[in-house]
Amino acid sequence: MMTIANPVEILLVEDNYRDEELALLSLDEYNLANKVEVVRDGEEALDFIFRRGAYADRDPSNPKLILLDLKLPKVDGLEVLREIRSNPETKNVPVVVLTSSKEDQDIKECYELKVNSYIVKPVDFDQFTKSVKELGFYWVLLNEPPPK
């Protein structure tokens, strides 16, 4: 096992609690589930990322991965991504969009905002589990995050 210095490795931005549970179950296969902070909408995500509101006192380091849904209450995923990328503190944080949408328009806009990866959530559970746990493994355990 790696030693994990960062209390929150993955920020999961997901408004659907069933998708959240499925994602956490999948991440747990590499024991990553307890390193995940879940936020429910775009505003909460921005509060977490920029340490505002309820997250004003959190550990200041960036998560190693932000898993971002696109269709979110209050502030949508594209806007969250835009704000992450336009802030010098967070512009290099790996963001993977994990969404139901295969619309070309969504994919294009995400890449224009320099998303690190765009994953369409599979409906099939086995594929879903495989995608999410591999994502977690790759970005948290394998990938070298940007230096602080």
């Binding site: 069933r18 998708d19 696109l70 139901s100 295969k102 619309e103 959530k121 409906v123 559970f125 086995d126």
Partner: protein, 372 residues
Amino acid sequence: MIDTETIDSYFGSLDYMPIGAFVLREDYVVLFWNSTLEHWTGIRRDEIVSTDIGDRFPHFKTPVYAGRLESIFQGGPPTVFSSQLHKHIIPSTLPGGRPRVQHTIVTASRTLSGDNIHAVFAIQDVSDLSRRVHDYAVLSKKLKESNEDLEAFTYSVSHDLRAPLRAIVGFSKILFQKFADDIPESAHRYLDIIRDSALELSDLIDDLLRLSRVGRADLEKQTINTKEFVNISFKELAHEYEGRNVEITVADDLPECEADPTLFRQVLVNLLGNAIKYTGCQDIARIEVGCEQSGNETAFFVKDNGAGFDGKYAHKVFGVFQRLHTSDEYEGTGVGLAIVKRVIDKHGGRIWAEGETNKGATFYFTLEEKRL
């Protein structure tokens, strides 16, 4: 006094034209008033000739009109009172009660009695045209709105409709994994049915989104190496006929075609995919891709020796959700050929099918309008 006889003989040709026409002297006295204007306004020629136009239509004395008429009376170039700015130069109503929209051109005429210059008004009734322009604007606004609705609808389908399915598939699987020992063997089948049904619905959503995307896509035609596209499409489908005995024949003389590469690829994958699917029960599946020339029209075809269909339902195969086989026999959502037809329609081509039950099917398509 005005010599009406001379004037009428001079301007009489204006009388029978399908435009409103009248003539003004420099002092704004009406010299001529044609029968179309009598009809439009109910004012007879003998009532208005020799009177000042300003008596009945005071706006002719306002600076906007007077200024421009001044220039005409100086022998200046023709001037236009456009229907946008001067809709009703001679106010009159249409039979339905709406005002008649008018487009007017005024020209200088000096040929009558020496030095005097007259202003000749020719008024076109553009009510129909302007109503159509208005209707068109209303329609295109409506169309824009309904397109926006459709976009929003598609967006929502794309994002929201799959999430509950993922939960159904996911949690029935988790139920099975976590409680395998407690679930009786006979109940496994039910869990499978739940899962398969949800996956089927997910495929259906994907296909419907694809269909709507084809409808919205802009056509970007290019010259296509048809044979190469056919071969690539077969390769893409390879996993669907792995381990089966399939004989594929692609004609050497397939001509190039003009088509949108992405959409054309979709056509091929759907047609070839169908041929592969419906030959599933044959010992040796035979699939042939070729073309037929008739006049200057090229029809491509995909022919198979599969399950075919009853020829009397040939018109139904391209309808959305129309299926000629039960899903027990052959899986499918009934959207694939509807997508194909929509792509072909967008290219201005035609598609038709021939078939016979258990004797295979042939799908023909062209990619451009038939030139006569």
